[in-house]
Subunit: 143 residues, 2 copies
DNA sequence: GTCGGTGCAAACCTTTTGCAATCTA
DNA sequence: TAGATTGCAAAAGGTTTGCACCGAC
């Protein structure tokens, strides 16, 4: 699986997974991808989703987005430089197209900047209106 | 373990763990804490480290710092608002005392800001000089 | 027909938990 | 001595991998 980019076949499951990620305007959790793709391909195995994501990531079509304290999300690559917003209510992650760094961040002497990741937490437009916060699920702890 | 803050005894292992975290000026990985505390308390069990960190976190003395794609680090709380720098060479995480947000980040309509996390990746002063990058260990993948 | 892909189950890794022994207060 | 804490090993969660069968080409 490492040298000649042999074959690479087109399958229903792979198509479905690619489509779900590609047609989303925000990063998706594994369960969201599994759920979405399962609508087209019943009995989709979770291992297949993992493998497909890995393949797509190696191909450079998908990038993983780690939301601190929440988990990993996946989104299609090729978007312009951007960051993420995570809703503490519905636990969905959204793209944010603003970046506070108009120039490289200032760092201590000798430190160099290569990349950076910014996640803003808060409530999305839908959850901000609701009086009662939805209950959190799973490992959603944060400092 | 949830209501009256009963006793809470002082033990060598707990002291050692607290000391390691408290005396560090940067967030530490679990292995770093284990290694450091083990110097004072031989045969320190990893479960004890996890339990102590959990306790300290619940007490508010420690906060966890998740470095995207790298893993969790722990640092003592009570520091002023700050962010983190992660060296892609030595895999150490450092505090950065600058924050690019002089005012709340602008968000889409209806979205509200509660907190944010910023991690800058690059090379620290030590690793920046080395011509050959050190080899990465474990699960240090990043998009 | 080939050989890549899939699904299932086992393997892995990291973190948590049960329990008997140990240690603090 | 009572009850918190520890260490070990088992359990739990999430992700990866081995393998036989299936399906794209």
């Amino acid at each position: 699986m490492r040298k000649s980019p042999s074959a690479a076949r087109r399958t229903r499951q792979r198509d479905a997974i690619e489509k779900v990620i590609g047609s989303s305007d925000r990063p998706l959790a594994l369960e969201e991808i599994l759920a979405g793709a399962s609508r087209e391909v019943r009995e989709l195995g979770i291992a297949t989703v993992y493998r497909s994501i890995k393949l797509l990531t190696e191909r450079g079509q998908v990038v993983s987005v780690e939301v601190p304290g929440v988990g990993v999300r996946y989104e299609s690559s090729g978007k312009a430089h951007h960051h993420h917003f995570h809703c503490n209510g519905c636990e969905k992650t959204f793209d944010l197209h603003a970046c506070p760094f108009t120039e490289p961040p200032s760092l201590p002497d000798g430190f160099s900047h290569e990349t950076h990741a910014i996640t803003i937490f808060g409530k999305c437009d839908t959850c901000g209106h609701r009086p009662k916060p939805q209950e959190r699920r799973r490992t959603a702890r944060r400092a």
